[in-house]
Amino acid sequence: MRLFLSFRGHIPFGNEILTCICQSNRPSRKEYYLKYLLHERKKPLLIPILSRSLDTFAMLLYIHEIDFSPKYNKEYLNTRLGFHLHWSSCLESTLQEEDKEQKNVFQVMDSLLSSEGDSQRTQYPYVTGTSVIGIKYKDGVLMAADMGGSYGSTIRYKSVERIKQIGKHSLLGASGEISDFQEILKYLDDLILNDKMWDDGNSLGPKEVHNYLTRVMYNRRNKFDPLWNSLIIGGVKNGHKYLGSVSMIGVHFEDDHVATGFGNHLARPILREEWREDLTFEEGVKLLEKCMRNLLYRDRSAVNKLQIAKITDEGMTISQPYSLKTFWNFAAFENPTVGAEGSW
């Protein structure tokens, strides 16, 4: 059965209810289409809704806390919502010829609904963090990340903790979409909790966490709904140091030093030059700070507030936020447009 719903009245309300209906019916594009109609055309509309029966439709309203009894109490609904609903149900073939507009809407809707996999999955990141760097050193693993959260190119947040502890043996650092990172942390909380609940002395190490995350990331990418992050997992378990990375599409590898994003271009060349197996803690921190300072100078998303985390067989610590000393008084910075005619 095809159900038509037209309304007059408070547009946002109508928008809301139609959005609800359409989401329940089938997500995404249809919803956008309706929004388009509602926003662009400020006049009464006829919206065809695909629904198995009026009862289903009533149920949808019910779900969204709109009291709509199977008796179709229109008066009540109209009062409650403050706009007028006009209900009619008919088959496509019984459409009135003069109702051209209605039919047109109907056809557009049909074409939009025709392909099953038309839902729009690929999102874009909103609030993002920039590079994370991780290195192995003599006693374990070190990781560094700044605390900026960029909303597009605006550095909107300045205290985002992007390095977190996972279980007893692992650290996770993330760049990319912050909310996706929070989602990942939720998955890992569940994972670690379930692991602890066995209470049998076994625990997931960094290698296990790394592989688990690889599966999660690759699985989401295959659903065309990736978690928009590059992750770095470091840890020590039973004396074995582990450091690896996973990208948003599931590419994963282990290395002695890893970095995400800009860090790959700006930090890793330094690490390749200067990293040694037997780095002490102090040397490791110095090396990481050198990398972070380079990023700070050249990556416009980096901020001068960072945390360094250390993990060894004895345990882990994530430092308080601190800043690096910088020097900007180079002659070239004084008047940057000299010799660049036409620039500002």
């Binding site: 066995w198 049998d200 002395g201 076994n202 997931l204 190490g205 290698k207 296990e208 592989n211 688990y212 599966r215 039973n238």
Partner: protein
Amino acid sequence: MFRNQYDTDVTTWSPAGRLFQVEYAMEAVKQGSAAIGLRSKTHVVLACVNKTNSELSSHQKKIFKVDDHIGVAIAGLTADGRVLSRYMRSECINYGYTYESPLPVGRLVVQLADKAQVCTQRSWKRPYGVGLLVAGLDESGAHLYYNCPSGNYFEYQAFAIGSRSQAAKTYLERKFEKFTGSTRDDLIKDALFAIRETLQGEKLTSSVCTVAVVGVGEAFSILDQATVQGLINEFEISGEEAGGAAAEEAGGAAADQGGAAVEQEAAPMDI
């Protein structure tokens, strides 16, 4: 031939607080040919007695490799054992896929026990009629577990199940204290001795037993017949040739069921 009115389905309690169907399933384990297991700090050895249903047939496989670090020996309904070992294999593979590391033995054993427990609490199900000796190696060392149809599981230093397993248990109980420090080869030797105990005088040859090992630096593997025969010869544990006639009689008709008298009443569990 029902024992009483409380044994017609698994979910019915007897007034004494027993579940007869579950107990019957436990009996099925005792009917199967013997399987034993023993472990040191670093290795676990499984061994079992192979019996054939007829002169014309081969014996059924009673030891299964589950993963590189886990194997099982079964006694009871072989068909149920196969289903359970397939389940264990798939659990190991799934864990390996997700975490790229071997499934801890204790966890697999609990999962297996939970699976068996469900069958003791559903009216439309039947308990598994098989006992499993699970041998495995993980981070915390070598382990030997026994899983029974009731959903219980126990960890052992050494254990024996199946028909005439009492003889092997007696042997293992006498010796188990030295197993912890045993070498791999010593464990195999003790396994063969224990197996011989269950044969009641029948000659121990590589064709009547299977032996498997898992340990540090050694993936679970079933020893081939030649190797086992070599060990039997080396240890000279083939059994008393003197009592040949008596042994022949016992080992012939009754195969390896619990003696001729028991045989008459017992259900043909291994067919």
